[in-house]
């Protein structure tokens, strides 16, 4: 049976893993290659590395980090942050990534998704969407606005429509982060993930807000997520992967265990 995936995210700046609360205060949680390998052997199903600085000067550092991390991993490895062109993506694949996550650049030009998918396959393209709850003009219903550049700027796009468009452009997966929940440990925004999962056929990875094992049960249950991603709860050992997988299994959610 196809299992629900638990993905560990490494937020990296200048070659070090950091994780902020609501993208603000950053705490150093170690070496990415070492951490990735430790999470993989603990039972993580996948590793995502996000370069949160992603300035031009730091790009060389990123590729070296990707190379060192990929060497340690025998599970799928996604790299995102600052990928603006097919060449950027190619460099990251060449360094050992299996998938790239694109965000702001794809919003600016959705053809980027098509170009990367055309050369490396849709399975290699993850479109990252940072979404925030919003009231529309009439004030009715539930709406999610797409934010960019690390969740700071408005894009004028609606998350549900953008997810659909990204799929049409050739995205293989959607990495959906709730900007309302990110860093709060209050639980995933299951209404957000359910809204997106209902309109796309590609897998939806829920992100933002993981604080307890029950939150994962919720996001796989009424959130209809295919995968769930978290960072700090794993880095700081607040939840052990083995305990989480057993808890999910006990709640009838298929997971890869033992692995």
């Amino acid at each position: 049976m196809l299992t629900r995936r638990i993905i560990v995210c490494l937020d990296v700046d200048a070659g070090r893993v950091v994780k902020g609360v609501q993208f603000a205060k950053l705490r150093d949680a170690g070496d990415p290659a070492e951490l990735a390998a430790a999470h993989a052997s603990a039972g993580a199903d996948e590793i995502v590395l996000l370069d949160i600085a992603a300035t031009y000067e730091k790009r060389a550092t990123l590729l070296e980090t990707v190379r060192r991390t990929a060497r340690e991993l025998t599970i799928p490895f996604t790299v995102g942050g600052g990928i603006r062109t097919v060449e950027d993506a190619a460099a990251v694949f060449d360094a050992g990534a299996d998938k790239v996550a694109v965000n702001s650049a794809a919003i600016a030009d959705p053809a980027l998704i098509t170009e990367i998918a055309g050369r490396f396959g849709s399975q290699a393209v993850v479109v990252a969407i940072d979404a925030r709850r919003t009231a529309n003009a009439s004030g009715s219903g539930l709406h999610f606005a797409v934010k960019k550049t690390g969740g700071r700027d408005a894009t004028g796009r609606d998350a549900v429509n953008w997810a659909r468009e990204a799929q049409e452009a050739g995205a293989g997966e959607i990495l959906l982060t709730s900007m309302d929940r990110d860093g709060t440990k209050d639980g995933f925004d299951t209404e957000l993930t359910a809204a997106i999962a209902a309109v796309v056929r590609i897998p939806v990875i829920a992100s933002g807000g993981a604080g307890s094992m029950q939150h994962f049960v919720d996001v796989f249950g009424h959130g209809h997520a295919d995968a769930a991603l978290a960072a700090s709860i794993f880095h700081f050992g607040l939840i052990r992967m083995a305990d989480l997988k057993q808890h999910l299994r006990a709640n009838g959610i298929p997971v890869r265990w033992p692995c």
Binding site: L2, R71, T74, I75, G172, I202, R256
Partner: protein, 216 residues
């Protein structure tokens, strides 16, 4: 967890094993396959040269992306080199689309012929399941297999694909997702896996090691 020698020991004990040609047909990313073979101590090189394929001792045909990408095999002269190698019983491992190409054809690109070593056409997943099939699913092993030797029943491996190959008499592992499909096929020296052994943790490494250690 599977017990196995470390990469270092492996390299030392199998200095005489064949060099593996990884076929590059401009379809996606070969780095993962190359790295995985490096990790188990298997010597390999990436090539799109029909002559290099013709003289290869072992061949891996990776594959991500579209079935139509295999057209390049035809136009580049690699198809006949691969066909000849298979006829000469050079051990051959097709991964993902590389395995689908061993079947007659695929709905994904009906005008592109496969090798037809295994019967039938690769098809899209039925509408009632999400597609592509992405993630870790378990292997339902059937019969004996040299490629999957030592792999426990219901081992999890990593899949990512939109089309699937039918279950045939040469299937040595099935997978269930909107019905059964071939997860692994094996006949003589021809092997195919729908999943990605290079991304399937220790189970995947064990499978690649089995291929690496096959006598030529």
């Amino acid at each position: 967890m599977l017990a196995g020698p470390t990469a270092g020991q492996d390299a030392a004990e199998h200095e005489r094993t064949a060099v593996i040609a990884i076929v590059d047909y401009r379809a996606g990313n070969l780095t993962s396959v190359k790295k995985a073979l490096d990790r188990i101590g298997a010597e390999s090189f990436v090539t799109s040269d029909p002559e290099a394929i013709a003289s290869a001792e072992k061949i891996v045909l990776p594959g991500v992306g579209h079935f139509a990408a295999t057209k390049v095999l035809e136009t580049s002269g690699m198809r006949s080199a691969l066909q000849n190698a298979i006829q000469r019983e050079v051990p051959f491992l097709g991964i993902c689309v590389g395995m689908q190409w061993l079947f007659e054809s695929s709905e994904e690109s009906p005008e592109t012929p496969g090798l037809g070593i295994f019967p039938g056409q690769c098809e899209h997943f039925p509408g009632e399941v999400k597609s592509p099939h992405v993630g870790w699913n378990d292997l339902l092993l059937e019969g004996s297999s040299r490629l999957l030797a030592g792999v426990p029943q219901n081992s999890f491996v990593y899949f990512t694909h939109t089309y699937r190959a039918p279950v045939v008499s040469s299937s040595v592992a099935r997978c269930e997702y909107g019905g059964a499909f071939s997860a692994a096929v094996e006949r003589g020296q021809v092997f195919g896996v729908q999943f990605h052994p290079e991304k399937s943790g220790e189970v995947g490494q064990a499978i690649l090691r089995n291929f690496h250690e096959l006598p030529c």
